[in-house]
Amino acid sequence: MRIALLYPELLGTYGDGGNALVLAERARRRGRRVELATVTLDERLPAADLYLLGGGEDGPQRLAADLLRRGDLVARVGDGARVFAVCAGLQVLGTTFAVEGDDHYDGVGLVEVTTVRGERRSVGDLAVRVGGRLLVGFENHGGVTRLAPEVRPLGEVVRGRGSDGRHDGFVTERAFATYAHGPVLALNPWFADEVLAAVLGEELEPLATVADRLYAERCARLGP
């Protein structure tokens, strides 16, 4: 399994590289072979099974969107690769987003979603009900993201704002995205395994880590 962490120098404001570490480690501990590549902005997009996008400030987000539009992310996803994106990365995957100086900056257009500037920044704990489970994390963004009718949100917001106060993120056949930035997969081992299982195309055996205690503690604090 090949994981490519894209442009951490642009999209990595909130420790987002942690998600790559968590996925690789959880796969390795189950005996899978994992190659983890970090792609910097002067490199071409390598072939991978999963691409990861993190959060970032306006300028770098714009640059990342430019690089990804010019590169072949959309083609790679068309060939079967998957994408996991948080925060600015979520916005970049959409058709347009708002940055300083431009309310309609072109995204990659992989998913039919648009992001406009919200009235205020959303900063704080975020909890989202995904299926029967809780996804916990932290959000810090100024965007309001609207999904086209055919795009399925990741889940319903229990605490915080997520995409629009009601829903957070999106899931498509090939993409996962959430506003819970940073190491959201470290906080939510079940979600990390869901992404892994989708990429590997198989059910995964359970894996006990100290992250299980962390998840239980955050759920107790942030849950309904």
Binding site: E9, L10, G12, T13, Y14, G15, D16, G17, G18, L21, V22, E25, T40, L41, D42, E57, G59, P60, L63, R121, V123, G124, D125, F138, N140, H181, G182, P183, A186, L187, T209, V210, A211, R213, L214, E217
Partner: protein, 402 residues
């Protein structure tokens, strides 16, 4: 021009002193912020009144403010007014200056307060140490701070800006200043300055310095710190610090450059720096519950990265304590920007309110962990190094205080 009558400043200054005395007597706290607030309520321009007629050095940056300020004060020789309780906004500055007429001042300043404090104090020197990610939940995106500093620097016509040439964001901020003393201290932290602040192209880092395709290049420095030598404004200086680590040698280089620019001989000042053994509990070695503990403060990825460099090989046990209160930043995501992998092979005891976040980070990084759900006793036969972030450090500092 109408001059504010002197009595307003006098009254406000004495209010600061009286309230702070009362606060200390009643044990409300260390008595700086509250007195400062009272004084400012009486005279909103109190800080500029108090700063008039003395030399002021301001120190700002993400990491090293408190230590560098302490080093400036120690190196100056003679009495210096310092905000050494760590309150680095206007109330703390007012409290530091009240009752110390004519005494020079070394003040650490919160990064986002720098413009206002500089306007009020008309400093002889402003030291710009570094800029990196810190307290992410406050959305003080690093580049925004750099832009604000840049606007400020353009206005500093009677001030020397002592600036870190090794940090591209600081160089971007300080290049607008009319008078800059550039310091090359070989900052190892680069995660926040990968793309050029001018043109966003990737920056190239070479042993001789960094550069961008647009021509923005590391400025030539007059203060140069290497592993074995220090040259301050062209003068070779012997540096023999009691404070550990490369990061404190860099802090000393900035302090000595600032002192050189207010007329203090950097060689004589360097000798005085050797007497600084701890700064507000940082680096303090203490006997506690039958063991020996040493406290190290690290608040953010760059600070932690520098601290790990020093503690990774330290003898004895390693405890790390992490909180995520408002003063720490409520989002501990930054733990994943710290190169904890450097601790592979050690066992770390995880403490603080976010010990599970820390333990998870370390576990995924391949470092063995013990989750310390209760405050452990130190071993009696080997020392303990305790690395803690801001409020966790305050707790440990109080807990182990002699």
């Amino acid at each position: 021009m109408v001059r504010r009558p002197r009595s307003t400043t006098w009254l406000a200054e004495h209010a600061v002193l009286a309230v702070n005395r009362l606060s200390r007597v009643l044990r409300w706290g260390e008595g700086t912020v509250i007195g400062g607030r009272a004084g400012l309520a009486l005279d909103p321009t109190l800080l500029s009144g108090l700063a008039r007629g003395r030399q002021v050095v301001l120190v700002s940056g993400t990491n090293g403010k408190t230590t560098t300020t302490a080093l400036v004060a120690a190196g100056w020789g003679g009495p210096v007014a310092v905000n050494d309780t760590g309150s680095n906004m206007v109330q703390g500055h007012v409290a530091a200056l009240a009752g110390r007429r004519g005494v020079p001042a070394a003040l650490e300043v919160d990064e986002s307060w720098l413009a206002g404090i500089a306007a009020a104090t008309r400093p002889a020197v402003v030291v710009l140490l570094n800029l990196s990610r810190d307290q992410l939940d406050r959305a003080n995106e690093v580049r925004r701070v750099a832009l604000r500093w840049r606007d400020l620097c353009a206005t500093l016509t009677d001030t020397v800006v002592v600036a870190n040439a090794s940090d591209p964001l600081v160089a971007f901020a300080a290049e607008t200043a009319p008078d800059v003393a550039w310091c090359d201290v070989a900052t190892p932290w680069r995660l926040d300055a990968v793309s050029c602040p001018h043109c966003t192209a990737p920056l190239a880092f070479a042993p001789t310095g960094w550069s961008s395709a647009c021509g923005f290049t590391q400025p030539r420095a007059t203060t140069v710190l290497t592993e074995g030598s220090l040259r301050v404004d062209g003068v070779d200086v012997e540096l023999d610090l009691a404070l550990p680590g490369a990061v404190n040698r860099a802090n000393a280089a900035f302090a000595l450059t600032a002192l050189s620019r207010v007329g203090v001989d950097p060689r004589a000042a360097a000798v005085r720096l050797a007497s600084v053994r701890e700064v507000a509990g940082r680096y303090a070695r203490r006997r506690w519950r039958g063991g020996e503990v040493r406290l190290v403060l690290a608040k953010n990825p760059a600070g932690f990265s520098a601290a790990l460099e020093e503690v990774a090989g330290a003898p004895g046990d390693l405890w790390i304590a992490v909180n995520a209160r408002v003063a720490d930043g409520r989002d501990p995501s930054w733990l994943y920007d710290v190169p904890f992998e450097r601790l592979t092979g050690r066992t770390v005891t995880c403490l603080g309110e976010r010990r599970l976040d820390l333990a998870t980070r370390l576990d995924y990084g391949g470092v063995a962990v013990i989750v310390g759900d209760a405050v452990p006793d130190p071993p009696s036969d080997r020392p303990v190094t305790i690395v803690a972030n801001y409020t966790a450090f305050q707790e440990w500092n109080a807990r182990t205080a002699p």
